[in-house]
């Protein structure tokens, strides 16, 4: 059996990192982000990264860590509202940003991972984000051409993995992780639980192992909550 389980994050990333690379990351806000792998990429010192991710983390957590260290040169993202360091670098012209509507970003990762170089969508037609892109009519309605994304490396967070790299995500922490996993030339998954072969129900696997080359047990599962909203217990 091909050994996909690695002992730790630096071992799993060994030979995969180089300056100027593209990295796709799963997660929505701070939910379902690969915390352990982000720490290891920070420690590696790799720079000039183009990061493809829905968000950019916050100042001291998530991809925000790699912004703080200036390791990210360019971001493809849908929403970056929670990050002061991002704002400073962006306004100073130090960081290049390509805004992409959220559904279009998910579809671009999915398409890239499925070998589809481009697709047409109604999202963004008539807006700044369609400028310079081909627009074509289908059934009398305009659609804009968007391109599939492929990354040198994809990093994802899952709940469980087996030795074959089959992944199961948990609740809304799934979000962008399945698409990111497909669009990496190499995909590394960090998981909360490693289980034995046969322990995952084949019908319940979200991402099959063909998309996942390396797996580690996550050592960082802080799962920080951005907006802790509470309802009072009924008396």
């Amino acid at each position: 059996m091909v050994q996909k389980i690695y002992c730790d994050a630096p071992a799993a990333l060994d030979g995969l990192l180089h300056d100027g690379m593209t990295i796709a990351a799963g997660g929505f806000g701070l939910c379902g982000i690969p915390e352990t792998l982000i720490d290891a990429i920070e420690a590696s010192g790799v720079t000039g990264i183009t990061a493809m991710s829905n968000n950019a983390g916050v100042d001291d957590f998530g991809l925000g860590k790699l912004l703080r260290t200036r390791q990210i040169a360019r971001m493809i993202a849908s929403y970056v509202g929670e990050n002061k360091e991002f704002e400073r670098q962006y306004l100073a012209g130090e960081l290049d940003v390509e805004f992409c509507p959220q559904g279009t970003l998910a579809e671009r990762m999915r398409a890239g991972g499925a070998g589809i170089p481009g697709f047409y969508t109604r999202t963004g037609v008539g807006t700044l984000l369609a400028q310079g892109k081909e627009v074509r009519e289908f059934n009398g309605e305009p659609y804009v051409l968007e391109t599939g994304l492929v990354a040198d490396l994809a990093i994802v967070k899952a709940w469980k993995a087996d030795p074959y790299g089959n992944l199961v995500f948990r609740k809304s922490a799934r979000n962008f992780n399945p698409m990111a996993a497909t669009c990496g030339r190499v995909t590394v998954a960090e998981v909360e639980h490693l289980v034995e072969a046969g322990d995952l129900e084949p019908d319940q696997i979200h991402t099959p192992g063909v998309f996942v080359q390396r797996v580690i047990l996550a050592t960082r599962n802080e799962k920080r909550i951005e907006r802790r909203t509470i309802r009072e217990e009924a008396a």
């Binding site: 806000g29 849908s78 279009t104 008539g126 807006t127 984000l129 948990r170 809304s172 509470i230 009072e232």
Partner: protein, 212 residues
Amino acid sequence: MIGWTREAMAARAARELRDGHYVNLGIGIPTSVANYIDPAIDVTLQSENGILGLGAFPTEAEVDADVINAGKQTITELDRTSYVSSADSFGMIRGGHIHLSILGAMEVSQHGDLANWMVPGQMVKGPGGAMDLVAGVRRIIVLMDHVDKKGAPKFRARCTLPLTGANVVDMIITTHALFERPDRKSRFALKECAPGVTPADIRAMTEADYED
């Protein structure tokens, strides 16, 4: 008090929900529409990060970091809840499977154009899922103040800000009035005025052209 409060606007928007609807509520006042849904109808709320069937906020004991809505707030599951990937979630939205979305706005034009994602010269945070929602959801209702902080009308002849979508808005509920159009080829008409507001008041404080 002249005009509608935020709560009254949310309650009025909630009256547009119908039995069996799948609905996406935007961040901010639109989220509070959930508090006013008629208990006699069955509505399923969708959150674009990948949840169909949103429950209430959790009690302290129920908080789960893996159960958040698109506003990154902690929430709970219902007996109907399903989780999907972001691609499948936006498949629901872009594929026209969601009946209604209620969103905030900076400006709406008389042609139904919506601007709610960027102000040139200010920090741009990105569109999030707003462009996908207005392009794909069957019916779009906007909740907004009637005039901005400087007193300028927000329902305008044309948007001065970059668009989120062109010709996408079906109903506008402001602090002062409700405008609606039957389809996206028609003009908006003034349908309701808030308490203490007359049609003449609305005409005086609105730039957009609309039918009385």
